[in-house]
């Protein structure tokens, strides 16, 4: 009940936040503007459209994931509304978990709104529905949850600017880290080798959640791989939340 109260309040705050609406608006805007692109380009319009729709939804939902997480937790500490919560019989871990679920709900609603619009648009345009795209969005959602957990971690220990920089960097690293897979095995120096192994396995591997190519190219999707990606996300998020709680438990509210 206490976690639910925190989560719902977080959701309320996020949805009453103007940035949230703006981002949804832009998501819609991109979907619509893709119509313009199809008018101006030749070739497989459906493919271009899918491509653009997925890219814009991806871009805006990632922005929401990064910034609402950072904004909400930081504000809570900065404006001291947190005194009001933590002076009540609620543990700090409940607070963090409540925040996480609130953000998860916020992202879910944002993503669903964009996806529904995207599907309607595709249906009207091409008269067909590619349900496989749904799988893409499910994986995207898990990626968003990882990103928002990262932003939760950073914003409970540092300033919004630093948190944004760290979260965005980790997001970018997360999408290229798989390219170091072979590279790390070629390292000779044992110390650097150990460090790169640790980094390789602890930094988030976000490419696991990107099946855009298979979708757009109409390649079959490997269910086993998808399930393993989801498991990876769940463990990764759990680890991040535990770390955040450990740090948050030590924190002083001055």
């Amino acid at each position: 009940m206490k976690i639910r109260a925190i989560a719902l309040n977080t959701f309320k705050e996020a949805t009453r936040n103007k940035i949230y609406y703006l981002l949804i608006f832009f998501g819609i805007f991109f979907v619509l503007s893709s119509k313009l692109v199809t008018l101006l380009t030749i070739g497989d319009h459906v493919k271009v459209l899918k491509d653009l729709g997925l890219a814009s939804i991806n871009f805006f939902s990632v922005l929401i994931a990064i910034f609402t997480g950072i904004d909400l937790v930081y504000k809570e500490i900065e404006r001291k509304t947190i005194y009001n919560i933590l002076s009540k019989p609620i543990s700090r871990s409940c607070f963090i978990i409540g925040k996480f679920f609130g953000l998860a709900l916020t992202l879910f609603v944002a993503l669903i709104s964009m996806v529904v619009m995207f599907f309607l648009f595709m249906l009207l345009f091409s008269g067909e529905l590619d349900v496989r795209i749904l799988v893409y969005f499910i994986l995207l959602y898990f990626e968003l949850l990882i990103i928002t957990s990262i932003s939760l971690l950073f914003s409970s220990i540092s300033t919004p600017i630093l948190s944004s920089v760290f979260t965005i960097s980790l997001y970018l690293i997360g999408h290229v880290i798989w390219t170091f897979n072979e590279f790390k095995d070629k390292i000779v120096n044992p110390i650097i080798k150990i460090i790169s192994y640790i980094l390789y396995y602890t930094l988030p591997n976000l490419e696991k959640f990107n099946i855009k190519n298979s979708i757009v190219m109409n390649i079959d999707i490997d269910i086993g791989m998808i399930l393993s990606s989801i498991c990876y996300a769940i463990f990764y998020i759990a680890a991040l939340l535990i770390l955040t709680i450990l740090i948050f438990n030590k924190r002083e509210f001055q």
Partner: protein, 303 residues
């Protein structure tokens, strides 16, 4: 058992930069009986807010104890019994007054129906009826303070901790708050509050604790502290020759054609009055001056 007991509380802050250490609380000792109103006094920066934050577990402390009915006040169980109003309260400005109270109640796991009724009752109690659905963005400072007070009572706490509850209130609001605090005391609650507004404090507290630079320097019943109640008498008179006063060793000041003389010794006051009458002077007034909390406070601080 004591409602609140703080023993030898010490707290050191370490700055992020250069890890410089500041010992802010050096030896705080507070002991509050159930059903008391306890006033926590100290100049700016003495450590009042820090003490309260330590009690609630918002910050950790180096050593000492903070107990509520003999149990750790920082524990979740301890906080269950507390209602707390922070200094300069700030609440989510996107919520309405009612939503804030409901949210607060949910953090105590109070059933939603009960919390709704309670919220309505409390908003009336603090004079915010009709403002239930107004966003907090649109609240004035005093209204926020009132709402903050309503919010501290949502869980029907046995112990109410208020950090500067009178700040931001107009004279009417202060009077209402004093009355509220007294009525809470009557229903058996223990109230612990810090304030700079000594007049308000003097009117309602049973016990005061004075802290200076992180140490408790005085604690006692208000009635004991100001027991020698009359501090001095002031006699205002006219119509006596100045030279006569001087030759009789009666000190005086001249103000609006009246002479004013002050004395701590009641015998001497009587003597002066007799002297004035014998010399055909006219007494305008004789006023006893009582010691106030302010005098005690200033005396302790300057010691």
């Amino acid at each position: 058992m004591k409602a609140i007991e703080i023993k030898g509380l010490e707290k050191t802050f370490t700055s992020n930069f250069l890890l410089k250490k500041y010992k802010v609380l050096k030896d705080i000792n507070i002991s509050i009986e159930k059903g008391e109103i306890y006033g926590f006094l100290g100049p700016n920066g003495a450590g009042k807010t820090t003490t309260i934050k330590c009690m609630l577990g918002l910050i950790s402390f180096d050593s000492g104890e903070s107990l509520i009915y003999g149990k750790d006040s920082k524990s979740i169980e301890g906080r269950e019994k507390i209602g707390f109003l922070p200094e300069h309260p700030y609440f989510y400005d996107y919520l309405t007054a009612k939503e804030l109270l409901i949210f607060s109640g949910m953090l105590f796991s109070i059933p939603i129906k009960k919390v709704m009724n309670k919220a309505k009752y409390l908003l009336e109690l603090v004079g915010l009826e009709g403002k239930e659905d107004l966003k907090l963005k649109k609240f004035s400072k005093g209204m926020i303070q009132r709402l903050g007070f309503a919010q501290t009572l949502i869980n029907d706490p046995e112990i109410i901790i208020l950090d500067e509850p009178f700040s931001g209130l107009d004279p009417i609001g202060r009077k209402e708050l004093r009355d509220l605090i007294i009525s809470l005391k009557k229903s058996g609650k223990t109230i612990f509050f810090s304030s700079h507004i000594l007049q308000d404090m003097e009117m309602i507290v049973d016990t005061v604790g004075i802290i200076l630079e992180g140490k408790t320097i005085k604690q006692g019943k208000l009635s004991d502290l100001i027991s020698h109640s009359v501090q001095y008498h002031e006699v205002v008179f006219r119509g006596v020759d100045e030279s006569l006063l001087k030759s009789n060793n009666i000190g005086f000041e001249l103000k609006d054609n009246n002479y004013i003389t002050k004395s701590k010794d009641f015998e001497k006051v009587n003597h002066i009055i007799e002297f004035i009458i014998m010399n055909h002077g006219k007494i305008i007034s004789v006023t006893p001056f009582k010691m106030t909390l302010e005098d005690i406070f200033l005396e302790e601080i300057n010691r």
